[in-house]
């Protein structure tokens, strides 16, 4: 300013600095963290405004969809991604699974005292890149700092809003007996990629997380057919749990064909070694679609034409079943129930 002494402020030490309690106290250190780290990465008009919330334009006449997810992955960096891009993809996908075009994201960071600012910057950069690639800006945010031992590096809760065009009615309760069950690609990649970096398990693999934003794929599918009833991303709990959720919501049963479900060989091998079942392992860039049987080919064609749906397949059929069992014809020739996940899926010895 006119007549001011040169306005020098020591910048954040992004190389060796750590998050300390002052960064969360709301004073000048908080402002500096937001400005030099978050704003620098996400840079957009809404954030730069610096208000308590973001003021947004919304196309009128459409239904709005809102979705939220907390992201608490450990380790924070894993093959193929990190908690940053995951937190963008996860919420965008939940919007897409409601048939909505994602428009805006809000991000709430809970940082643990002592977390290296360099790691935070990497995570935020990854998040910003994911947000830009998806065309969904982070328009408002919040940062809190908790004491060492009361957090785990970084937790990111993202919330998204989007709009569902009139005529789109996608919901978990829409599966009908006879409908086809489609899957966009291989299962278990994300979970295995993350497990491979857990200290107690560590194994070498070239598997990378499938983390991706699926709204483009969904848009192509919805364009190809108006007869898609259900969309869902099989994240925590894996494909098995997601299908059981849908069966419960729609009050139907399902019969799957094990032979149709694509699993990468390394995922298969890791599951054998650890005593896991790929059906229960998390995915972050896959979706399940349930559509009218005679629309299945159109939808599959649209999926396969999209880079994130190249390996899309039909994996089964919705059935009438008062017990809402998800069953599976095994590759071996038998049939079994594919149940909900019980508790956590833990590596087993027997």
């Amino acid at each position: 300013m006119s007549g001011s002494r040169k306005d020098y402020v020591r910048p954040l030490d992004l190389r060796n600095g750590r998050v300390d309690m002052g960064h969360g106290a709301g004073g000048r250190s908080s402002a500096q963290l937001i400005e030099e780290l978050f704003l620098a990465a996400f840079d957009n008009d809404w954030l730069r405004q610096g208000d308590d919330g973001a003021s947004l334009a919304i196309p009128s006449g459409a239904r709005m969809v809102m979705a939220t997810d907390g992201h608490v992955v450990s380790p924070l960096f894993f093959p193929g991604g990190d908690v940053g891009c995951l937190s963008v993809h996860g919420t965008i996908n939940d919007l897409a699974m409601c048939g909505a075009k994602p428009l805006y994201l809000a991000a709430s960071f809970i940082l643990e005292e002592g977390f290296p600012l360099a790691d935070l910057q990497r995570i935020v950069a990854s998040m910003a890149a994911a947000s830009r690639a998806a065309g969904v800006p982070v328009v408002t945010g919040d940062t809190k700092v908790v004491e060492r031992g009361k957090g785990d590096g970084v937790f990111i809760s993202t919330t998204g809003i989007g709009v569902a065009p009139a005529g789109v009615n996608v919901a978990g309760a829409n599966a009908r007996p006879g409908d086809a069950i489609l899957l966009s690609g291989t299962i278990g990649d994300h979970g295995v990629a993350v497990l491979s970096k857990r200290q107690a398990l560590d194994f070498e693999t070239t598997i990378t997380s499938d983390t991706a934003a699926l709204h483009g794929l969904v848009a192509a599918m919805l364009k190809a057919s108006s007869r898609i009833g259900v969309l869902r991303d099989p994240t925590r709990g894996g494909l098995a749990t997601t299908l059981n959720e849908i069966a419960r919501q729609s009050k139907v049963g399902m019969v799957l064909e094990e032979a149709a479900i694509p699993v990468l060989p390394q995922v298969d091998a890791a599951c054998e070694l650890l005593g896991l079942d790929p059906l229960y392992v998390a995915n972050e860039g896959k979706l399940v679609a349930i559509c009218a049987a005679d629309a299945a080919d159109d939808v599959l064609a649209a999926m396969r034409a999209h880079p994130l749906g190249e390996r899309a397949v039909r994996i089964g059929t919705v059935t009438e079943d008062p017990h809402r069992f998800v069953q599976m014809n095994t590759r071996f020739g038998g049939r079994r129930v594919v149940d909900w996940l019980s508790g956590e899926q833990l590596p087993r010895i027997c």
Binding site: A200, L201, R248, P265, D268, A269, E272, L274, G275, P322, H323, R324, F325, Q327, N329, T330, R331, F332, G333, G334, R335, R336, V337, D339, W340, S342, G343, E344, L346, P347, R348, I349, C350
Partner: protein
């Protein structure tokens, strides 16, 4: 995956199934017990039951170290974590086994116990090295397969002079359990056990060899076929049992020759007997006290024996009265014969041993087979 995928071939399965169908005598009932949870798992996961003739029935045995782990032993592990503030290391399998007072390892952890899941006992040893200021106890469960790695860890601990490492030894023995099923006093209570033959352990036999079953086959006149855990192995073993029964033989046959011979892994056996000795008696969940059915740590390794180190006092805890596990484990009843199967007793809240691990007879039936039992269904809503 070599030596795996070939043994899961559905086409071959069909052929063996047809062969079994053609060889069973239509007028006869065949009951075979697969002792091992590994076989139970294969039968459930691949739907083998559907491929077997109607007059051939597979009975799930007690061969899952988690299922047979008695409540009182889990209580000890929890006591170490909660009352003694030890780091208790355990395989993932034991985490949800119900203990007393509504607890389990998972819930004890939630109450502040420092309970850590390990993939190998070597990891527990490593934790002890890294945290010399804390007591680290490895909660050792498992059959003859899992015992040699524990023995190795104990040897290393002694060699390194680790002062904060010990083992809560719950290792159990397969042959004595099989024998017990046929001769225990409880057999009277359930009537004659209608088992015509046994599918013998796969991986246990890698370590102990096929020899130890010979006495049993002769003594009790029951055929035994040692079989791998892949579905074709199981089907082939069933075929081999059908043939023994049809031909009136009671021999130990080995389907799993690619990994098992008569002697087993002598190196591992020597190591085990250096570190462990027989326990006069040990409680098996669902079976009760079984004589000479488990191992304890030899006096030479006393300082690494958590039971001695912490002066632990074993207290048996009775199972739920409604639970039919005892009868199920002996092949006298089926999971669906239990009044509380699938309602009060579910994988989320297991009541009896057979529901505890996914290898347990009830859990396997719940997870994989219950679509055949229409009245049961799985809902969260009340």
């Amino acid at each position: 995956m070599k030596f795996i995928d070939e043994f899961r071939d559905g086409g071959l399965a069909r052929k063996i199934a047809d062969r079994i169908a053609s060889e069973v005598l239509p007028e006869r009932l065949y009951s075979f017990m697969e002792f091992c949870g590994g076989h139970t798992h294969a039968i459930s996961r691949y739907g083998i039951g559907e491929l077997l003739p109607a007059n051939l029935r597979m009975v799930h045995g007690p061969g899952c170290p988690v299922c047979v782990l008695p409540i009182g032993r889990v209580d000890l592990a929890i006591e170490l974590a909660l009352a003694q503030d030890a780091i208790v290391c355990t395989y993932g399998d034991t985490m949800r086994v119900p203990a007393s007072n509504g607890l389990s390892m998972v819930r004890a952890k939630a109450r502040g116990g420092d309970i850590r899941m390990v993939y190998s006992c070597a990891d527990a040893l490593e934790i002890a090295r890294r945290e010399p200021g804390r007591e680290v106890v490895f909660f050792a469960i498992g059959f003859e397969t899992t015992t040699p790695p524990t023995a190795l860890a104990l040897q290393k601990a002694r060699a390194e002079g680790l002062r904060n490492f010990s083992v809560l030894c719950c290792h159990v023995l397969t042959p004595s359990a099989i024998t017990h099923i046929l001769e225990s006093p409880e057999v009277r209570q359930f009537g004659t056990v209608p088992i015509d033959g046994f599918v013998g352990p796969a991986h246990v036999s890698i370590v102990i060899g096929s020899g130890p079953y010979e006495h049993f086959a002769q003594e009790y006149r029951k055929p035994v076929v040692i079989a791998g855990f892949e579905p074709l192995d199981v089907m082939q073993a069933v075929l081999m049992l059908v043939r023994q029964v049809n031909e009136g033989r009671a021999e130990v046959e080995n389907e799993f020759t690619r990994a098992v011979d008569r002697d087993g892994n002598l190196h591992a056996q020597a190591l085990v007997s250096e570190v462990f000795e027989l326990r006069p008696s040990f409680e098996w969940r669902g079976l009760g006290e079984v004589p000479y059915s488990a191992l304890k740590i030899r006096p030479g390794f006393a300082e690494f024996d958590a039971e001695r180190r912490f002066g632990l006092d074993y207290r048996p805890v009775p199972d739920n009265k409604a639970c039919e596990c005892g009868a199920i484990l002996r092949g006298v009843k089926k999971p669906t014969d239990c009044k509380i199967f699938g309602t009060v007793c579910t994988p989320e809240n297991p009541v009896g041993s057979c529901m505890v691990s996914s290898e347990g007879a009830c859990a396997a039936h719940y997870a994989y087979g219950r679509f055949k039992d229409i009245p049961v269904h799985a809902e969260v809503t009340r």
